[in-house]
């Protein structure tokens, strides 16, 4: 099958590029390894949603299981299952990329793209009165301590605040790519192929000549790789396109959680899952920064985060309705000596290693103490960290337990819902996989357009950044066509 553009992946990056190019009159084929799922299938059950809508059936993790990875896999990619939190890329992050990698992205360059995205996705700031008790605890705790905190912006229209964003919105309130940019693309003639996994990109004489998978071969003029961090580098590795640090410097916002037990019911399973965030600690000088948000409290996810086993674990689970779950996300990638994660292949599938370092331990300890403090200030009865051996905090004095507890892989829970890097952009082909316009350094008709091109983590939830950068990059893809 011949076409102008083959887009691999239908998450925010791929959906945006497909929509822009189809609008410009290009013939576009979109390949998506996941299925096409609609609201009627979203039954709000974890046992159904995670195997159906997440990578590796909800099983994705680093090779040693020390970081559990939540990553979408469906038509619409992560936008189908994320918690709707919408931030523009922080200015200082763009400045850092300019300085270190020769990035062309500035706040002014991206502003019109973000404005269009926010309009299309109906991104609106949350009213404090609409936050649930789980998020309100973050607001109140931070406020009492004098820490920066704000409500977030969300991409929803007619949201019932049921609390099930992570399992697919059952009422189509979440303005995912599957409801916005992908239909836009299809309306302009793009062909969307669900359940179609790109195995490899065939290259001849320095040009991508075909995208191949089981039962199909697409022959495009231009290939846009938008399979997301972890999967995009894996596609390049499978294809033997090994130029630059492909797979290296993968960033995850490695995330720790605390469970704060309150006297009253919190019911963190209902209500918009994320509506408050604090960036008070985002730019720490003593180590890596982190930011604080809430996480929904549904039984399976809660059980995975609950330490221990047997009767103690069950006792904690029995109190689940009274728990506020607060997460702190480490902002990785801003120190020169950080290696981050590395994607390699195992039997053709991506394998991710992300060794823990002292910088991470310092950040995790600081983040655990900060999140405990905000709940102590807010009147929580007790707070449990994510240490494998239960660590309970009931007073400021108990915070020393966090410093004393041994740290190491699988001695405390860490997860990631934000995957970035692995195909970083930059002017130096020795340090990057794609150039500042997201064109591959060696394969000239290949672009990578997704979160994998980010040279560092963002310090904010990545969806809107991916959309915005993809909107900007579409013009460069279009030029390559002409």
């Amino acid at each position: 099958m011949k076409t102008d553009v083959c887009v691999i992946g239908s998450g925010p990056g791929g959906a945006m590029v497909a929509s822009r190019l189809a609008a410009a009159g290009a013939k576009v084929v979109i390949l998506e390894e996941g299925g096409l799922h609609t609201r009627a299938e979203f039954d709000m059950q974890e046992a159904t949603a995670y195997p159906r809508l997440y990578q590796e059936r909800g099983n994705r993790a680093t090779a040693d299981l020390s970081i559990a990875i939540l990553q979408g896999r469906a038509v619409g990619g992560g936008t189908v299952v994320n918690w709707t939190t919408s931030f523009r890329t922080p200015d200082h992050v763009l400045e850092h990329w300019q300085k270190t990698e020769g990035s062309e992205l500035t706040p002014a360059v991206l502003a019109p793209h973000f404005a269009e995205v926010e309009q299309r996705l109906n991104v609106q700031k949350v009213d404090l009165d609409d936050t649930n008790a789980n998020n309100r605890a973050v607001w109140d705790g931070c406020t009492k301590l004098g820490w920066q905190v704000d409500t977030t912006r969300r991409n929803v229209r007619g949201c019932l605040r049921t609390g099930y964003c992570g399992m697919g919105c059952p009422v189509d309130a979440k303005q995912s790519a599957a409801l916005t940019y992908l239909p836009d693309a299809v309306a302009r003639g793009a062909v969307l192929k669900p359940d179609s996994r790109a195995e490899r990109i065939a290259v001849r004489d320095g040009r991508a000549v075909a995208v191949e998978g089981r039962g199909f071969s697409i022959e495009p003029d231009v290939v846009v790789l938008s399979a997301g961090a972890i999967n995009s580098p894996a596609v390049l590795l499978r294809s033997g396109i090994l130029d630059g640090p492909v797979g290296r410097k993968t960033w995850l916002h490695p995330t720790i959680a605390v469970a704060a037990l309150y006297e009253q019911r919190i019911e963190g399973f209902y209500g918009a899952p994320q509506s408050v965030a604090s960036h008070h600690f985002a730019r720490r000088t003593e180590g890596a920064g982190f930011f604080i948000e809430a996480a929904p409290v549904h039984p399976m996810l809660a059980a995975l985060a609950t330490p221990g086993f047997g009767a103690p674990m069950r006792a904690q689970m029995a109190a689940m309705a009274n728990v506020a779950a607060t997460i702190a996300l480490m902002i990785d990638g801003f120190s020169d000596d950080e290696g981050g994660g590395t994607v390699t292949l195992r039997d053709g599938l991506p394998r991710l290693d992300y060794p823990f370092t002292d910088r991470m331990y310092e950040c995790f300890r600081a983040a655990m103490k900060a999140t405990c403090r905000l709940h102590l200030a807010n009147g929580a009865r007790e707070i449990h960290t994510s240490h494998t051996r239960d660590l309970r905090v009931t007073s400021e004095a108990d915070l020393r337990l966090i410093d004393e507890a041994p740290m190491g892989p699988n001695l405390f829970g860490v997860f990631s819902a934000h995957q970035m890097g692995g195909c970083r952009m930059g002017a130096d082909p020795g340090r990057s996989v794609v150039n500042p316009q997201l064109r591959h350094h060696a394969v000239k008709n290949l672009f990578v357009v997704d979160g994998s091109v980010f040279p560092t983590a963002l310090g904010v939830n990545p969806m809107e950044s991916i959309y915005g950068v993809a909107s900007w990059a579409s013009q460069h893809v279009q030029k390559a066509l002409s």
Partner: protein, 175 residues
């Protein structure tokens, strides 16, 4: 809710030695105590089923209601990629290996033949072991058992979760 990885199992010298020990001593002193599955098995062998069912019993401490955690895990694991499946099988074999357990300070019996207290001791040893390989193995088994149990709607009442608000959804989607 997660599998194990061969890469990890073989990553450390300790891991390689342990795998060799497990493989080199067939039946390693004692056999797995068999247990009958309530449904035809899709992933586990009968021995693997018996091991995981014994692990799940201790992770969940015979929690009521009984929801067939090992059977649910069997169905969940059925589509696992071959390499991950191999890892998980090796993990279960190692966990029930009497020689290995004995060398690591446990009684000279397979996990499936131990008393509940000894089983809890072995889980606790793996949970905070100085060998990363054991901690990974513990997490793989514990998370799988916990995920299979707590994602079953029959367990919702026990954690104070009323379940999804289907009536609210219906009021909107049927308009």
């Amino acid at each position: 809710m997660t599998g194990s990885r061969r890469g990890l199992l073989k990553k450390t010298l300790g891991g390689a030695v342990l795998l060799a020990a497990a493989g080199a001593v067939p039946l390693a002193l004692r056999r797995t105590r068999p247990r009958a599955a309530a449904a035809p098995l899709q992933f586990f062998t009968p021995a693997e089923y018996s091991i995981f069912a014994a692990v799940a019993d201790r992770v969940l401490t015979d929690a009521e209601p009984r929801v067939g955690v090992a059977e649910r895990a069997d169905a969940f694991l059925a589509p696992l990629p071959p390499a991950d499946a191999r890892d998980f099988r090796r993990l279960l074999a190692l966990f029930d290996n009497a020689l290995y357990g004995f060398l690591r300070g446990g009684p000279p019996r397979p996990f499936t033949q131990m008393s509940p207290d000894d089983q809890d001791d072995q889980l606790a040893r793996w949970q905070t072991s100085r060998f990363p390989i054991e901690r990974t193995g513990y997490q793989a088994m514990k998370r799988l058992a916990a995920a299979m149990y707590f994602s079953d709607p029959r367990t919702y009442a026990g954690v104070g979760y009323p379940g999804p608000p289907y009536e609210l959804i219906k009021s909107v989607t049927t308009k």
